[in-house]
Amino acid sequence: MTTSTVVVRALSRRRFAIRENLGRWDVKYSPYAFISPFFIVFALVGLFPLAYTGWVSLHSWDLIGGEGGWTGFENFAFVLQQRQFWVALRNTMSIFLVSAVPQLIVATAIAAALDTNLRNRTFWRMSVLLPFVVMPVAVTLIFGSMFGERYGLVNRTLAEVGLGPIRWHTDPLASHIAIATMVNFRWTGYNALILLAGMQAIPRDLYEAATIDGATWLRRFFRITIPQLRPTVIFVIITATIGGLQIFDEPRLYDQNGLGGEDQQWMTMTIYLYKLGWTQLNFGRAAAVAWLLFVVIVAIGLINLALTRRIASAGAGR
């Protein structure tokens, strides 16, 4: 009898100890379990492909045939020596600037307009998003034919008002503007809505105080809205940078070949990557371009971050 009570007591003590341990583990580790899905998914679809692309870029690698031996940094060296690579980098930057800068300015203006007391507010907000719902392929096909050099709508209209034709498919800058137009058509409304959400979160009493102090609408916009919008602006700029530097659909469908023009006028980095990987079946070189593009995006992203921080904090400090 005594032995059994001892056993029971020992058992219950052990059970208690286990429960205590479980409780401690629960507090210590379950938060990690709760957030793990994101990290597992990120590792699977973000980190692993990134590392694997790096691995591929160090090999001679055929798209279908697969690995063909270690080559070290030969792919990088080859790509960096190509004229087309540097043209692609120039085009990517140029299209990015021509699209992102006006896009963000217009998006902010639209957001500010939508932030006022409009009638049929939901209607206006929805219509701003409408271009975003249209398939990018459809957008590109329509714009592509509008920007035709001889029979396109834009040049025909220009001719009507007595202006010379613009060589949308021949001149690099003109083609960049045409492509940027398609990008802006799709993304301005989307960014405007994000900025609008940011604006709605700004405490209204700030505006009321400023109005009482006699600040004009313009002054309120630049002194309150813009500085308060800082986190949203940073978010929008960074996503626009990532998206803008990876631009693919629009230049790919801008002409019938999809390779960026006869003189690579609008061949972006992703088109160059595609050309190497899927047309020439050289996956190693394509992977090298992918990594170089990654480096460029990180670099530009950091520069952007530093710039926007400074601009925004300078605005807020005053």
């Binding site: 694997y52 004229r83 029979y151 006869e262 992703t270």
Partner: protein, 420 residues
């Protein structure tokens, strides 16, 4: 823009599958299990719904679904992406002759289509271009024997003969003859160009040499072969006076065709459908039974059966049925794709065919003659399509007045070297 992520994602998925190395399993379906076969084609192959329904009556357990890609380029991109992924291709996949060489490197990913009755079904060169190590990986569909299509009203306006027989006589000769008639035409100032683009015309020349871009061992000779540079320079010299400067297949080119911007063009049989489809308002297109410098073949396709499919045995049967002479004659009547099957050539349904759009031209007879005039089979290696793209880019650079002929050629040479 952001869907670039999706494309990269697809590539990554392809890599993942490659890493896992999933090879397609072949099932041996018993005869009567109902199955569905997908047939992937592009542009216009002429395989009508009625034809596919007929196959269903012959094989009640097989239903055929056809997926049609808009362009050969789209079909090609799809093909290589899914070959790399190891799954997702149709049971029967159409392949164009120019990218066949790239696929031949991976011949073991396709089913051998050889049977006793396929031994002599096609023209020799057609079979040869799809054979790897004795295995036939593509069943020939059509070929593209070339004639010249011309606009009779524009010819008459320029004071040239305008009936098919007269034009045939006028254009009999070499390329220089074709160019000099073009000069005469240009002097008449009809407001219409002689040909559409240097690029399209160059295709005609390129297909008349056995080793144009590559030697038989696959080594690239394009940059040193004098024929290539001569063709490049001569086409561009003629183009300065005679071309509409509209790059083939571009939106402007399509609009130009609809508006009748040029008077002649190289006309492989499959081009007939393109011309009549794009230019319903232009009534004066005719066909001259002639081609500069003899004959030439441009394009043509195959049907392949990827081993990744689930029903390769049935798919092979379907591919061989579709490429039998009877079906290809039916396709010719529908879309103008000229059969590659020797057995079709004496069939009255083919030889007697006419086309009302082209003034009831006896197209069966014309293209039979044009096919007989083809004497050279171009060697097309792995890099053929990429080299052709580089040269075409060079031609377009000059036509769009971005570069001189010399500067453009120099860039062509460096672009071709970068393919190495």
């Amino acid at each position: 823009m952001r869907s670039a992520g999706r494309v990269v994602g697809a590539g990554i998925a392809a890599l993942l599958v490659l890493a896992g190395c999933a090879s397609g399993s072949q099932s041996t379906t018993t005869d009567n299990t109902p199955i569905t076969l997908t047939l992937a084609t592009f542009n216009k192959f002429g395989y009508s719904d009625a034809m596919l329904a007929q196959y269903h009556t012959l094989h009640p357990n097989v239903t055929v679904v056809q997926n049609i890609a808009a362009t050969s380029q789209a079909a090609q991109d799809n093909m290589f992406t899914k070959l790399a992924a190891g799954s997702g291709l149709g049971d029967v996949e159409a392949v164009e002759v120019d990218w066949m060489p790239k696929l031949k490197q991976y011949g073991n990913l396709f089913v051998d289509l050889t049977t006793t009755d396929t031994k002599s079904r096609w023209l020799d060169w057609k079979t040869k271009a799809a054979t790897v190590n004795g295995r036939l990986i593509g069943a020939g569909t059509d070929i593209g024997p070339e004639a010249i299509c011309y606009r009779s009203d524009a010819f008459a306006k320029a004071g040239l003969p305008s009936d098919p027989a007269g034009v045939t006589q006028l254009l009999t000769g070499d390329w220089n003859n074709y160019y000099s008639v073009g000069e005469r035409f240009a002097k008449a100032n009809t407001g219409v160009a002689w040909f559409d683009s240097a690029g399209a015309t160059f295709q005609g020349l390129a297909n008349q040499y056995h080793n144009f871009f590559e030697a038989d061992d696959g080594s690239v000779v394009a940059t040193t072969n004098p024929d290539v540079k001569n063709a490049f320079v001569s086409v561009l010299t003629a183009s300065s006076k005679s071309s509409a400067h509209l790059q083939e297949w571009s939106t402007d080119w399509n609009a130009g065709l609809a508006n009748g911007a040029w008077a002649t063009m190289l006309c492989p049989s499959w081009m007939l459908g393109v011309i009549s489809g794009n230019g319903p308002k232009i009534k004066d297109w005719k066909i001259a039974n002639v081609f500069p410098n003899g004959g030439g073949n441009w394009g043509g396709s195959y049907l392949t059966v990827p081993t990744q499919g689930k029903h390769t045995k049935e798919a092979k049967e379907l591919a061989l049925w579709l490429t039998a002479p009877e079906q290809q004659i039916a396709a010719f009547v529908t879309t103008g794709n000229y059969p590659s099957q020797v057995g079709a050539y004496n069939n009255p349904a083919l030889t007697g065919a006419t086309n009302p759009y082209f003034g009831n031209a006896p197209i069966g007879q014309i293209f039979a003659d044009r096919a007989k005039a083809v004497t050279v089979t171009p060697y097309k290696g792995v890099k053929y399509a990429a080299i052709m793209q580089a040269v075409q880019d060079g031609l377009t650079r000059v036509e769009s007045r971005k570069q001189t002929i010399d500067a453009s050629w120099a860039q062509v040479v460096s672009d071709i070297k970068a393919l190495g």
